[in-house]
């Protein structure tokens, strides 16, 4: 699919969602797989915009591209904000705590990584690149 470039503001989340949904439809993903990928992309892009751009007073863009091959759909997200590797973030440890004692936030990256089959991060040419990869079909005998 043609790539999409949006400004690094929260108003752009709707356009990103529409792009991701179109890609999941093109890939013929099952409903749950499609939802989880949309959620993963939304969480990662939200992080880039809020922590990468807004809270550092930087402006920038988010570059998104869907790449389809026979077995997988990849959504590639790039930005020019400070280096940040979501895969190094430890999983939240307090998921069983009562809500009174929870930290606010920190669940987005967890949901993103849980929601895809493979999550690849790299920093190259002054950009963060997050690749979110899902299989287009469940393998036979897979328990999902």
């Amino acid at each position: 699919m043609k790539p999409l470039t949006v400004p690094g503001t929260l108003d752009a989340l709707g356009a990103i969602a529409n792009y991701t949904i179109a890609a999941t439809q093109k890939a013929g993903l099952e409903k749950e797989t499609a939802y989880n990928l949309r959620l993963a992309v939304d969480e990662i892009v939200t992080n880039i915009i809020t922590h990468g751009y807004i809270s550092t007073n930087c402006t920038g863009e988010v570059y998104i591209q869907a790449i389809l091959d026979e077995d997988t759909l990849t959504i590639q997200i790039e930005d020019t904000a400070i280096a940040y590797d979501p895969t190094r973030k430890p999983a939240p440890r307090d998921l069983t705590l009562p809500l009174e004692q929870r930290q606010v936030g920190g669940l987005g990256v967890f949901l993103a990584i849980q929601g895809v089959d493979r999550f690849v991060y790299e920093r190259a040419n002054g950009r963060n690149r997050n690749r979110l990869i899902v299989k287009r079909r469940k393998c036979d005998g897979g328990t999902g």
Binding site: L39, E43, T46, L95, L107
Partner: protein, 110 residues
């Protein structure tokens, strides 16, 4: 995101229509949190919310705390299957009362 707030038999029904993401959750929080007054009964109708990100979880966490402090009651109505899964996966689900429909919600909260 469209937010409609109405009252039915001393119960406040807050109906959300649209996606709950980082762009819309702040507005929802602004409008919904003040409904948690001492003794109030709130049905948060999410029947027409098909999508919720962690920004929605944060909003629900703030609402939960406000409801507890005010000793009011809250029921989440009409959760989509995927949203229920997100709540379950993050350990939120057990802390909320949920109902399928507004009718059931009204009966449960009275």
């Amino acid at each position: 995101m469209n937010i409609q707030i109405k009252t039915n038999q001393s119960v406040t029904i807050a109906e959300l229509v649209g996606d709950l993401d980082a762009n819309t959750a702040a507005e929802v929080q602004q409008q919904i949190l003040p409904l948690a007054k001492p003794g109030s009964k709130i049905l948060l109708d999410m029947t027409q919310v098909q999508y919720m990100s962690s920004a929605g979880l944060r909003m629900l966490l703030s609402l939960y705390r406000r409801v507890n402090t005010a000793q009011s009651k809250l029921i989440l109505v009409g959760l989509a299957e995927e949203i229920r899964k997100t709540l379950k996966m993050t350990g939120f689900l057990d802390f909320f009362t949920t109902c399928e429909t507004i009718e059931l919600g009204l009966r449960t909260i009275q």
